[in-house]
């Protein structure tokens, strides 16, 4: 086994780290990704993981719930360790969100001795973990997408629904208003899953007035956004507010929705959990079966790769909440009981762009 997972529900950071260290004691850990509940001190958990695995690059973030092989957890730390046979090379960098991103890419280029623009997306993969309260994920993903064809996938850090402060971790330190980017050269094949459980309804909402930076939409189809959204659902605005999770909207491209989840009605406009741009034509979506659609995606990935040795799952907190409301959290966890898996409940998912109500996953052969 070249990818191994560990977790701990011990409440003190030092105890949790020691617990994880003991579970990985016979493993030649060269890279470790970990996700920790916001109940742990960010500085102590970041430093503890670094000191426990001195021969490894360590990185991770705070969460709104954790996922490990077969289980959905809270108030835990989950970790995935890679040895030399699973990851050939890795470089972890921290991006200050107020500064230029080129420094990070220059560092990757030096480490791998290759321009980012020339790196093959079949050979390299990027992981991105972002401060979940920064509201800058779209800008970062847009910039990364301009600079390279390498796929960067990941999630926005959480803080157990307190919405106060989230943290990303890299090599012993904790950061806010930052993103951690890891560029990996895996030794095995890998692929990605982007799964969301929605069907597309025929109603279209064209964004006619918006502020993409504050993620506000003022008008759909030339009408106040809240009015147009409620009309599309055929209900009152008050009733529409209760339907956000069940009926988000999506930018649909070749039948693939990129979900934008409403957060609140503000005046007669609407605020979303990720940005929408003027001129975009969006479709009204309707929630379906998370368990069935996730299982289908996992089965397809397994068939395509001919087996899976590890999964990193960035699962939207809104999916986690929906699963909890429907009593399906255990069933979701069990979808991952055959394969070493880690993940967390995110404040947003990254894959090509920034999206909501989706699970984005890295799947290693």
């Amino acid at each position: 086994m070249n990818i191994k997972t560990a977790f701990s529900v011990k409440p003190e950071p030092q105890e949790a780290v020691a617990d994880i260290q003991s579970q990985l004691k016979d493993f030649d850990t060269r890279l470790i990704i970990f996700f920790a509940s916001s109940s742990f001190s960010p500085d102590l958990i970041a430093l503890g993981m670094e000191e426990a695995f001195p021969c490894a690059e360590t990185f991770g973030c705070s969460t709104a719930g954790e996922i490990v092989t077969g289980k959905m957890l809270t108030k835990s730390v989950v970790a995935m360790a890679f040895n030399k046979k699973s990851i050939k090379k890795a470089k972890v960098e921290v991006m200050d969100l107020d500064k230029e991103s080129k420094r990070v890419f220059n560092s990757f280029q030096r480490h791998f001795n290759k321009p980012m623009a020339k790196m093959s997306p079949k050979k390299y993969l990027g992981i991105i973990l972002v401060d979940g309260l920064c509201c800058k994920e779209e800008l970062i993903m847009d910039k990364i997408g301009d600079l390279t064809n390498v796929t960067f996938i990941g999630g926005s850090a959480g803080d157990d629904l307190k919405f106060e402060k989230t943290h990303v971790y890299a090599n012993g330190k904790s950061y806010s208003n930052a993103a951690v980017l890891a560029l990996l050269e895996p030794a095995t094949e890998f692929s990605f899953i982007k799964t969301q459980s929605f069907c597309q309804l025929p109603k279209k909402l064209e964004v006619t007035k918006a502020n993409e930076f504050t993620r506000e939409v003022f008008e759909f189809n030339g009408k106040p956004a809240a009015v147009a959204y409620a009309e599309a659902l055929g209900v009152s605005i008050e009733e529409a507010k209760k339907r956000f999770m069940h009926n988000p909207i999506g930018l649909v491209f070749e039948d693939e929705p990129f979900v934008r989840s409403p957060q609140q009605v503000k005046g007669d406009g609407m605020v979303f959990y990720c940005s929408v741009k003027e001129g975009m034509e969006l479709s009204l979506l309707e929630s379906t079966d998370i368990i069935a659609s996730t299982k289908k995606s996992l089965d397809e990935a397994e068939a395509a790769l001919g087996g899976i040795s590890g999964i990193v799952n960035f699962n939207c907190i809104l999916r986690t909440l929906e699963l909890g409301q429907k009593g399906l959290s255990d069933s979701y966890g069990k979808l991952f009981d055959k394969t070493p898996t880690v993940g967390f409940s995110t404040y947003g998912e990254q894959y090509i762009g920034h999206i909501n109500q989706t699970a984005t996953m890295i799947v290693f052969k």
Partner: protein, 62 residues
């Protein structure tokens, strides 16, 4: 003038995807998320400076 946007989109896709259909799909998706729907532009589409500006930034990174 017309057709410049379609021409720029085709250039970006062909230079970045290099006949890789999967990669071409990813690049089209990136354009969609930037607010540029590649399917909407034809050789007859007017040269909108705002869209051309966005595409010029992307072409610079090639």
């Amino acid at each position: 003038m017309a057709g410049k946007i379609k021409q720029m989109i085709d250039t970006i896709i062909s230079q970045r995807a290099k006949d890789n259909a999967m990669l071409a799909g990813v690049i089209k998706t990136k354009l969609m998320l930037k607010g540029i729907d590649p399917g909407k532009f034809t050789p007859q589409s007017p040269d909108d400076p705002a869209v051309i500006g966005k595409l010029e930034i992307l072409m610079k990174e090639l």
